[in-house]
């Protein structure tokens, strides 16, 4: 009898193994051993013999980068239109909180399970112990959205309302106990837009409400208890780089570095010129350092001005002294009675010519 039982059991286990072989190749059966979660070799749906959930140990298996950009929730033709769920954006935001596991709550590492693998798509069903798919999704979404949005209006998600934006500060002013400069101005907007910092680079373990709830404005600001958040980039800087006696204004490239960003340069991404990874270092202001051989290729017409025959063969420095191309050129070096822009050594073209 015992032998028969063992045979049956081994058959059942083998059957289970066959079943698992059908799982897509992305998740080989070896990734998670049955014994990781089950205390028995033949768990059933009725008695799964689960060990205490080891969820905490398996965090970090997946990243937001793997998330699909967007998924459609719901079916057309119902009382409400389906919702286009920005999965990747939510996954990136979740990196500031509980990660993928905030929603994918029963994943044990390995392959991320679809919600519908556990939550039935049928409301009329035998096992009503856990909510169906529609119920589970609504509870997940509404639990967070009502917390910071203070509403459970259906149109928050169903409809064409613009996506909620984080209440991001332009700058954060900290008061410290450093005697020679107690004010630290953190230029938040600059760090995000210019230096490309991701929210999760600094913000950890924060709730949705701390950035989205208008009633909790400012709660998302990080405490400046230590230098850790800044030192990754500012490790070699002088204290006075951040500590000042007054509140600093937004970063001005011309004021801080002496290199004014005008016209074409104003539109350039920082990384176009500052190619060093991590923090931006001072670079040579000679045009050649970024535009090698520019003199040969350059056509003055591009800046909206064509020279007349008298001036066309002149060297650049003849008018733009000291390669200061950003400042208006002078005429006084050669002419006593001429001045720019009253007198021009040619004619303006393009947008400049139409004025």
């Amino acid at each position: 009898m015992r032998i028969l039982c063992a045979l049956l059991l081994s058959l059942a286990v083998a059957d289970g193994a066959w079943g698992q072989a059908e799982v897509p190749p992305k998740a080989p059966a070896s990734v998670v051993h049955c014994r990781k979660c089950h205390t028995s070799d033949a768990p059933t749906k009725e008695s799964p013999s689960l060990v205490k959930c080891p969820r905490g140990n398996t965090k970090g298996v997946h990243t937001a980068a793997e998330a699909p950009p967007s998924i459609t929730l719901g079916q057309p033709g119902g009382n409400y239109e389906p919702v286009e769920f920005s999965h990747k954006a939510h996954a990136e935001m979740s990196e500031m909180g509980g990660g993928c596991y905030q929603c994918h709550h029963y994943d044990q590492g390995g392959r991320i399970q679809k919600c519908s693998e556990c939550h039935s798509t049928e409301r009329a069903r035998a096992d009503v112990g856990k909510p169906d798919l529609r119920g589970a999704l609504h509870r997940l979404c509404v639990d967070c959205h009502r917390e910071w949005g203070h509403t459970t209006d259906c149109t928050t998600c169903h409809g064409d309302k613009p996506l909620p934006q984080a209440l991001s500060s332009r700058r954060v002013v900290y008061k410290t106990s450093y005697p020679e400069g107690e004010t630290v101005t953190f230029l938040h907007e600059e760090h995000v837009t210019r230096f490309g910092l991701k929210c999760a680079d600094c913000h950890r373990q924060q709730s949705c409400a701390s950035c989205h709830d208008p009633k909790k404005k400012g709660e998302g600001a990080l405490p400046l208890e230590d230098h850790q958040s800044c030192s990754a980039c500012h490790a070699n800087d002088e204290c006075s780089r951040c500590h000042s006696t007054k509140v600093l204004d937004t970063f001005d490239h011309g004021q801080s570095t002496g290199w004014i960003h005008n016209r074409f340069h104003a539109k350039a991404e920082c990384q176009r010129c500052h190619t060093t990874v991590g923090r931006f270092t001072k670079i040579d202001t000679d045009c050649e350092s970024c535009h090698p051989g520019w003199r040969q290729k350059f056509s003055h017409e591009k800046v909206g001005f064509v020279f007349d025959d008298t001036h066309v063969d002149l060297e650049c420095e003849s008018c733009h002294a000291d390669s200061a191309f950003a400042t208006p050129p002078g005429c006084a070096d050669c002419h006593d009675d001429r001045s720019y822009p009253k007198d021009k050594p040619g004619r303006p073209v393009g947008a400049a010519g139409k004025k």
């Binding site: 009382n79 409301r123 009329a124 009503v128 112990g129 909510p131 169906d132 119920g135 009502r146």
Partner: protein
């Protein structure tokens, strides 16, 4: 000898007393209604309800009651005053403050509780009300004479009276979508609830699920399942995040509502007591007021 007699007497009186107590408790257990072990119910999880009021719309639509379009139910101003189910709306959702989070108030759906031992069934003098095997407490409009005893008897004050036509009485209340369910459909409110705050299933199974949830999420739920024992058990049972009294649930005992009234009624009418007593009383009166011959008195 005398001692033994006393003991015998005590023994026998004990037996009689116990028998009497047994009789009376049996009488208080309410009507011996045929409660099917598979009767269906609904578990209302008030912590999952988002107050969208789609159930109100679905109910009216399913029962051919006049209703505004679904989009109008987004209007939350109706929550400013407490509402009761009536002849225009068989179910309503009310809002209550959440002491734990003022920004996330609780919303509670109200409708007929479909009691296991319904007072309305017991009290209906023409037998228009009945508790069905599928758990629904329904009524027959054709039998109804409009006495409104059911309205008085209901511990939840659910049955409403439609006054529009004086000669055609019409009691209205949630019928647990009896017609829809016979056709294999879910109750309209359960089907439409986006968060599945309404779970439809066998009542006993729902009680088990509800108890399990309160154990697993003690920070989310208060202990107890309203309707598990109240008035002998109800078909619709509730889970809550605050004390049920804060959600205006009535404080009711665990005895079936019809128990007391029925035990009185049944007790009085048992063994032809009222007619016998009546005739005895009349007989006594006749005997007392009999015109006795005067001569006997003089004697």
């Amino acid at each position: 000898m005398a001692r033994l007699d006393r003991r015998e007497f005590l023994k026998s009186s004990l037996v009689i007393g116990a028998g009497l107590i047994g009789l009376s408790t049996e009488a208080q257990a309410g009507p011996k209604n045929v409660l099917s072990p598979d009767r269906m119910g609904v578990l209302v999880d008030t912590t999952a309800c988002i107050g969208c009021r789609n159930c109100e719309w679905a109910c009216k639509t399913a029962h051919d009651l006049p209703t505004n379009p679904l989009a109008s139910y987004q209007d939350k101003s109706v929550f400013e005053k407490m509402r009761r189910p009536d002849d225009k709306a068989l179910t309503v959702v009310n809002r209550y403050a959440n002491p734990k989070d003022p920004d996330a108030p609780y919303t509670v759906k109200v409708q007929c509780m479909h009691c296991d031992h319904p007072a309305c069934v017991s009290v209906c003098i023409v037998g228009a009300f009945s508790k069905q095997e599928n758990g629904a407490v329904v009524w027959d409009t054709d039998k109804c004479i409009g006495c409104r005893y059911c309205m008085v008897a209901c511990p939840f004050q659910v049955p409403a009276f439609e006054y529009e036509t004086a000669l055609k009485p019409n009691i209205v209340k949630c019928d647990f979508c009896a017609a829809r369910r016979q056709g294999g459909e879910l109750p309209a409110c359960v089907e439409t609830c986006p968060a599945e705050a309404l779970t439809y299933g066998p009542r006993d199974e729902l009680v088990r699920i509800a108890r399990d949830r309160t154990k697993r999420y003690p920070e989310r739920y208060v202990k107890g399942v309203f309707g598990e024992y109240e008035v002998g058990g109800t078909g619709w049972i509730y889970l809550a995040g605050v004390d049920f009294s804060a959600l205006q649930f009535p404080k009711l005992g665990n005895n079936p509502a019809p128990g007391i009234s029925e035990s009185i009624q049944h007790g009085i009418f048992a063994y032809f007591v009222p007619p016998v007593a009546l005739y005895a009383l009349l007989g006594a009166l006749m005997w007392v007021s009999k015109d006795w011959p005067e001569g006997e008195d003089e004697e």
